[in-house]
Amino acid sequence: MAALATGERDSRSALPFVLPALALLAAVILIPAVYVLWLSFQESTFGKAATFVGFANYAKVLGDPYFWRSLGNTVAVVLVVVHVELLLGLAMALLFAGGLPFRKFLIAAVLAPYAVSEVGAVVMWRTLFDPDTGFMTRVLNAIGLPPLEWAVTPSHGLALVALLSIWLHLPFTFIILYAARLAIPKELYEAARIDGANGWQIFRRVTVPLLVPAILVAMLFRYIFAYRLFSEVWLLTQGGPARSTEVVAVYLYLEAFRYNDFGAAAATGWIMVLTSLLLASVYLRKLYREMFARAE
């Protein structure tokens, strides 16, 4: 009966409902993206008609050491951020699932950074790590470590960017993993315990395999969103000193809005789109296959 009823609903009458959403996406994302593809084959700047230059923009970007540095920085930050987030998120999900007092309050606390803007987070973390007076600088000092010279040393700047990105986005990763962990039926754990499995075995044979889909989803989303990284870097170091902490989005912004080279910026944009897809797909496929090979 249900099938008959849905069959009666002519799919053309769905159009008025889905068209506003599709129109909005087409106008703001699809058409601009296609235009950027066209632009990436043109030489274009303010007050000049665009002329076709083939792959010259791509050649220029790919021959630019600053581009490679920004790509290297981005990849390093993304890899650290996403994996640390997954590890912490997983550990926290298991801790919460194991039962904690004041659970509601604790979850509210864990979610708090989700409400913080990128600007707000930058204000907080640069204050904490202020090389002279920051609280964390004093902590590092107390345990015999040098301060984080984030405004001077490129790797320190990127480390602070990674730290505050993890802080901002851990709530998202945690929620996905926690919800997935709660969805695992209790009976499976009881059965494993009756079979004499210890904690580690239960973790390896029950928890991890059943969480793999959620881990992959969280990882995919975080790869894609972490790769866009712009505001944190821009607000903390502006890509400096001497363009050493640029990430790809900052490189693109500078090409377009500081050097007014729209062709090169557009080429960067498409390289960004393609690499982000590649980064996600290669890794995910490999992981997916490995996980299922182990499950056999």
Binding site: L24, E118, A179, P213, S231, L252
Partner: protein, 299 residues
């Protein structure tokens, strides 16, 4: 075979007994470990926010003084300076509010309609377009700013609420649609069919049957858009310069002022911008979690 099973169960039982014998020490260790972990989580999550909150109520000259916790004399001076000298910031807050409300209404409306469409009909075009929606979500926003910048200027939309409202809504339409589809899928089709028997049009089904029952999903979508639009930086940075500047943008100008940052005032601004949305997130905890899981795992 059954006897094997019994032996295994017996072995497990005796192992359990051994474990229980060694329990007190181990349990104390476990509780201690848990307490440490919880302390770390609290410190990590709320520490930076608490630090800002305290500093906002500290006189400018004492903010960076060491060991100032015991001698702390709370003051609202920073907020007074913020109010008298940074009118821009409060205009920014108003702008943020207008843009957030506009983007939320637009995104929820469009996502709910589309969620209904994708939940109730199947066709090649619909499957294709839903895939396109998910794929478009992968495009980095900064890529689309390139062509939008001249178009927005040409249309006279630069530095207006409209451009931010449209952009914010557009970047949440695909997630919003997935969340709404998940929620509307849970509304029994029999209700639609009963209404159709009574001669209702699809539009009437949408407004009379679906809308009243999908409030929960709409709340989940609204929360995402509200948090995003209230805090967004990149688009506000590129597309607004004066009239439509949002609060985060004004804050970034406070950081960037080369004259030397007035930290106390900046902390006060950070706290004022954060507090309403933080309270909102805490109050909407349950819906936020539902929305995240519905959108992420099904989308």
């Amino acid at each position: 075979m059954p006897s094997d099973h019994a032996v295994a169960a017996g072995a497990a039982a005796s192992r359990r007994q051994n474990r229980e014998a060694a329990l007190p020490l181990r349990r104390i260790g476990a509780i201690l470990g848990k307490a440490l972990a919880v302390a770390f989580i609290l410190f990590w999550s709320i520490g930076p926010i608490a630090m800002i909150a305290k500093a906002a109520f500290t006189p400018e000259r004492d903010i960076f003084a060491v060991g100032s916790l015991t001698a702390w004399r709370p003051t609202i001076d920073n907020f007074i300076v913020l109010w008298t000298r940074w009118g821009d910031f409060f205009t920014g807050l108003t702008n943020s509010l207008i843009v957030t409300v506009g983007a939320t209404i637009l995104a929820v409306l469009v996502s709910t309609l589309a969620g209904f469409g994708y939940s109730r009909w199947r066709s090649r075009f619909l499957s294709g377009s839903v895939f396109a929606m998910i794929a478009l979500r992968l495009l980095p926003p900064i890529v689309t700013t390139l062509p939008l910048f001249p178009i927005v200027n040409a249309l006279g939309l630069s530095d207006t609420y409209t451009v931010l409202i449209i952009l914010y809504a557009a970047f949440f339409v695909s997630l919003g649609t997935m969340v709404m589809r998940t929620f509307i899928d849970q509304i029994p089709r029999e209700l639609d069919e009963a209404a159709m028997m009574d001669g209702a049009t699809q539009r009437q089904i949408m407004t009379r049957v679906i809308l009243p029952l999908s409030a929960q999903g709409m709340v989940a979508v609204a929360i995402f858009v509200i948090v995003y639009a209230w805090n967004e930086f990149l688009f506000a940075f590129i597309f607004t310069t004066k009239h439509a500047k949002t609060a985060p943008l004004v804050m970034s100008e406070m950081i960037g002022s080369l004259e030397g940052v007035e930290w106390g005032v900046l902390f006060a601004a950070t706290l004022v911008q954060l507090l309403p949305i933080l309270i909102f997130v805490v109050l909407c905890q349950r819906h936020l979690i539902e929305g995240l899981t519905a959108g992420a795992t099904k989308g």
